[in-house]
């Protein structure tokens, strides 16, 4: 089992009002699955992704990741999990514009205290893996949207994660480029990486082995 959410609630205080975003979410994802979470915008998909990705904590409920209960984890442990177990891919790519493609890919590896040469070797491998060899020194501004998303995926892969979390990864791309990116995710999944994609696009969701729908703060298998 990769991860399991048990009765997750999340609410925010918006001024004097409490907004309930997640109302008892239950989800179990096994290793090697390709899951998409579909739902209209503002339904809490991103909040769910932040909780799964340890960027946020649930108000109540239990989150079990790779067999470990995570409620008591401190910041340092959460950082370790984000750094070594999870690869994030965002809609807006979130690359650092100052850095070259290679340096962007090295970013998660920098926090591992390992030799720079090792980092660079890994970065070149994953750059090649996403079909971007030869673009090492390009800065994000010099690359197209699809190319930037490939760099972002390479950055997620550099950490050799067991789970890739992608939040609307094709949302900023045209449909053809979006399909290319989807193909890349499908390949990675075939190689054994668990992928969880959040999307509002039924065409994207349709290519996933399993689709769950988020509605009114809860999840149902679609």
């Amino acid at each position: 089992m990769m991860l399991e959410l048990q009765d997750i609630y999340k609410s925010y205080a918006l001024g004097a009002v409490r907004v309930e975003v997640l109302n008892g979410v239950n989800l179990r994802v096994d290793a090697g699955e390709f899951v998409s979470v579909i739902g209209s915008s503002g339904c809490g998909k991103s909040t769910l992704m932040h909780i799964i990705g340890f960027l946020d904590t649930p108000t109540s409920g239990e989150y079990v990741f790779e067999g470990r209960k995570t409620a008591a984890f401190m910041d340092e442990e959460l950082c370790q999990i984000r750094n070594r177990k999870i690869g994030f891919v965002f809609q807006q790519f979130h690359l650092l514009p100052r850095l070259s493609a290679l340096e962007n890919i090295c970013l998660p590896l920098v926090y591992r205290n390992q030799p720079e040469a090792t980092n660079e070797k890994i970065a070149r491998q994953v750059l090649d893996r996403v079909g971007m060899a030869g673009r090492e020194m390009f800065r994000p501004g010099e690359l197209s949207g699809g190319q930037q998303q490939r760099i972002a995926i390479a950055r997620a892969l550099a950490a050799s994660p067991s789970l890739i979390l992608a939040d609307e990864p094709t949302g900023a791309l045209d449909s053809q480029t979006g399909q290319e990116i989807m193909n890349l995710f499908l390949e990675l999944n075939r190689e054994g990486i668990t992928v969880l994609i959040i999307t509002h696009d039924p065409k994207i969701a349709g290519q996933c082995k399993r689709v769950v729908r988020m509605q009114d703060g809860t999840l149902r298998e679609a």
Partner: protein, 399 residues
């Protein structure tokens, strides 16, 4: 990790050149003024102590204490003054005292080739030259055989004035002081003066003490400098001198000060003085530090998104904090290097125009480096902590 942080910080500083330059300027001026102030304090102290490196610290000065002057009288001295014959007895009666040099200071106008300048004259014995370690660049110093003679030795200021008036060779020239004509027999160079060596050494002329005592206004001997015997103890020597004057010249109220006491007092004063200067410099350093903090806060708020990305990719709060701390430390360290240059440069100029001897104060450089690092940590800490405490999700959402 540290190397990566340093590279990253340098890159970020380079990308905002103008902001970096302005923050740097504040630190440069701050560190520069601390170093300049500390250096100037050191110069002044060294200048004040230089007379002792020339003269040695085994000297004692005896002066008339004018707190309660009382009439005395005699051929050589005015009320409360001393007789040369009394003074000559000192080495015999005070075993710790090796040699003595009494002197009389007379003030008047000096005339040479129709030019007139106010100048002091010191009536001295031949021991004066030895005791105050005065070298002679031309001719000879005042001798004990010059009793009542109109010979004089000129100090550096008067010698310079005479040369300016056209004198080629000073020895043998005639000067008028207080309507008496003196023949120059020697020239002394400029030496460091202070509370032990009177300033008249550089500004005036030397004449035999017997001659000086014959001026119509009957100047008196009320200043004696004594050198102790080798390995003499200052406290014992001071006590011996006090009891000598109490027994032999009860009308003279001596104020006895040893070089050791003078140096100790002076060092205490100089410490306060340097502290005051350092405090003034520190104020500008604090202003510079606040500038750095400001720049760092702007840098943090401009890079919220970057912080969010880094946090998502596994950077811990500590990683983010150290990234920004390294940036502010680099800023301050660079400021420190330029500031040390500025401080040394301006203290050199101050020394040059004040005619003090310039020396590089390694203490000041060390202080400069330590303080700049400390400013970097201190003023970088708050912005760095703010960066580390950002909520990663909110940071990711920001543009």
């Amino acid at each position: 990790m540290i190397k990566a942080n340093v590279i990253e910080a340098a890159r970020s500083l380079m990308s905002a050149k103008q902001r970096t330059f302005l923050a740097l300027l504040g630190i440069v001026i701050g560190i520069g003024s601390v170093i300049a102030m500390v250096s100037v304090g050191t110069f002044v102290k060294e200048e004040a102590l230089r007379q002792f490196t020339d003269m040695g610290t085994d000297v004692i000065r005896v002066r008339q204490d004018y707190g309660e002057g009382k009439g005395g009288g005699g051929v050589m001295s005015g009320p409360g003054g001393l007789h040369l014959s009394d003074i000559d007895k000192i080495p015999a009666e005070c075993p710790e005292i090796g040699e003595i040099a009494p002197y009389i200071a007379v003030y008047g106008a000096l005339r040479y080739h129709g030019r007139q300048m106010p100048a002091p004259a010191l009536g001295v014995t031949s021991s004066f030259g030895r005791l105050f370690r005065l070298p002679v660049t031309e001719g000879r110093f005042v001798s004990d055989l010059d009793r009542y003679m109109s010979f004089c030795v000129v100090g550096p200021e008067v010698a310079a004035a005479m040369r300016q008036a056209g004198a080629k060779k000073l020895i043998g020239e005639k000067l008028t002081f207080k309507q008496r004509i003196f023949t120059v027999v020697g020239v002394t160079p400029k030496v460091p003066v202070g509370s032990m060596r009177p300033y008249e050494i550089n500004d005036g002329i030397f004449i035999p003490i017997t001659t000086a005592s014959r001026f119509p206004d009957r100047p008196q001997i009320d200043d004696i400098t004594a050198r102790m015997v080798p390995r003499g103890r200052a406290a014992v020597a001071v006590a011996q001198l006090r009891s000598f004057f109490a027994n032999n010249v009860p009308s003279f109220r001596p104020r006895v000060t040893s070089a050791e006491e003078l140096i100790a007092k002076m060092e205490k004063q100089m410490q306060l003085f340097t502290l005051l200067l350092a405090a003034i410099g520190s104020i500008s350093l604090i202003v510079g530090g606040v500038g750095v903090m400001n720049v760092m806060l702007v840098s943090v708020s401009e890079r919220r998104k970057e912080i969010g990305i880094r946090r998502a990719l596994g950077a811990s709060k500590r990683d983010i904090q150290s990234q920004f701390l390294v940036e502010s430390m680099i800023l301050c360290f660079m400021g420190g290097i330029f500031g040390i240059g500025l401080g040394l440069g301006s203290s050199y100029l101050i020394a040059h125009f004040s005619k003090w001897t310039f020396s590089i104060s390694y203490d000041a450089i060390l202080i400069g480096f330590c303080v700049s690092a400390a400013v970097g940590v201190f003023f970088g800490f708050f912005p760095a902590r703010q960066a580390a405490r950002l909520n990663p999700i909110e940071a990711l959402r920001s543009e």
